[in-house]
Amino acid sequence: MIEVNNVTFRYSGEAEEGIAPALEEVTLRIDEGETIALIGHNGSGKSTLARLLAAIVLPQRGSVIVDGLRTDAGGESLWQIRQSVGLVFQNPDDQLVTNTVIDEIAFGPENLGLPRFEIEERVEEMLDLLDLRPYARHAVSDLSQGQKQRLAVAGVLAMRPRYLILDEPTTMIPGHTAEQLLETVRRLARERGISVLHITHHMYELADFDRVIVMNRGRVLLDGTPASVLRHREELERAGLGLPLITQLGQRLRARGWSQLPEVILTLDDLKAALCSLK
């Protein structure tokens, strides 16, 4: 379990310039096996929260506790936290360290000082899990952007984290590739009990997550199931977020007299099912 208790974080120099903190009085809890979508406008504090959870930056007020270990405790516990909280960034080119697929997957396990046979085992496992087997001997520079992002996820998962944070991993890859990546990650979360925190600004990606957290100006604005969050249309719009197109369509149909339709429709399949049930 990750606990974020009353966390306030400000980047250095921002106080003098009168800029509001990146995060202010944030409190939340992430349970094991939960899949969460964290959504917010640019500058809402999403990425800062991701870095706090992975102990890359430390809170100035409040605390972040990962499986009983405080991120600001220092020493060996910092590395234990970084091992159990895996972080995947937006641009794969910024996070891939080596230049071959196998070496990249092995980089994290090597840092953990694991014996060779175990590193080999994890590399083999990740090649299959993320469908990277055909590219095993390829140079990283020969991969497409989507393949690179899968490799970045494989490199992080090879460290066997309990929590996986994806910081806008779908921004730089085409729609269908992004969908496949998210589906793979959700499947892994289900099969292995890994908690997933997916940071995004695409509202249509929320539907398949257990929980949605909406951030605005460094604070948690809404927190609940996708359906319960999407009921707060006005608050979302004030935070610069529009409803997904399919939800908007459902609401327009309701406004035109189809009042038996549910208030919030998340997917096209939901809409089809709802329309069919009307007959």
Partner: protein
């Protein structure tokens, strides 16, 4: 300017399972260092001809398409041709005993100038070829492991060998990335009407500043992101008591000893030939 990556293969790695690729990186680095020392020392055409044969032999061993390697050197050679012109035109002899072929103002083409510039530039081309080939046939991780193993004795003097090697390796990794970035920036500037390679020198420099300044900025941002990503994956440079394990064990085989012996023999031959040959 816009399609630079096609003309630079520096920093790329091709895993084609050739004999050169399979050699132990320590052997490759030692052979490379010996060859660089010998190539730098020689100054006679006969020795340069032997260098050419050696490079052709390496090319055959590497099983890389010659066209691919030459295409990768095209931009460098174009740059060298310009330098060559300057070297020839402004050559000043130390002996004053030059046979002038053409003279106009401060510009002179002399027989000595032509010979000397050709020798220097051929050496530079051979050295660039050796460096490219080392990187085309050795993955970054192998290169780092090999260099680290060879430099290990320096750790006793308190030098942070692992960290220094990692800095070097990451600098190499950034070469193709920065080339892609230059390409992207060139296209962005060209679409805004910036014309490279036109106008007087001042206008040309101004056009280039539109690439160089953002290139530096994005380079620094990438470095910061990469160091964050590495730390998030438990890379603990400079952390006391931290030991990385390795996926690949370095194994010195008979072929490595043979390669080193051949290289030593060649270097001896080159120096001897340079000494006895009149040209």
């Amino acid at each position: 300017m816009i399609e630079i990556s096609r003309h630079i293969s520096f920093g790329q790695y091709v895993d084609n399972g050739s004999r050169l690729t399979r050699l132990d990186p320590r052997a490759k680095i030692l052979c490379f260092a010996l060859a660089v020392a010998a190539f730098t020392y020689i100054s006679q055409f006969a020795a340069l001809a032997l260098c050419l044969f050696f490079c052709l032999f390496l090319q055959w061993l590497s099983r890389l398409p010659l066209r691919y390697v030459l295409q990768g050197m095209r931009m460098f050679i174009s740059f060298l041709v310009i330098l060559y012109a300057f070297q020839v035109l402004f050559y000043t002899s130390s002996t004053q005993a030059t046979s002038v072929i053409w003279h106009w103002g401060v510009l002179t083409i002399s027989w000595e100038g032509l010979m000397h510039s050709t020798q220097v530039d051929l050496r530079v081309i051979f050295l660039y070829y050796l460096t490219s080939l080392l990187m085309l046939t050795t993955s970054l991780v192998d290169l780092a492991d090999g260099a680290e193993a060879l430099l290990r004795p320096l750790r006793r003097l308190g030098l942070p060998v692992h960290e220094l090697v990692m800095v070097f390796v990451i600098a190499l990794k950034f070469v193709p990335l920065l080339i892609t970035e230059v390409e992207r920036l060139s296209i962005a500037q060209a679409t805004r009407g910036v014309r490279f390679g036109r106008g007087n020198p001042w206008q040309r420099i101004r056009a280039l500043s539109g690439i160089i300044v953002p290139l530096f900025m994005s380079g620094l941002q990438r470095v910061e992101m990469l160091s964050t990503a590495m730390e998030a994956r438990c890379y603990r440079a400079g952390y006391r008591g931290w030991r990385r394990s390795k996926l690949h064990a370095l194994q010195w085989a008979g072929a490595d000893s043979l390669a080193l012996a051949c290289c030593l023999l060649l270097c001896g031959l080159l120096v001897a030939l340079n000494f006895v040959s009149p040209f």
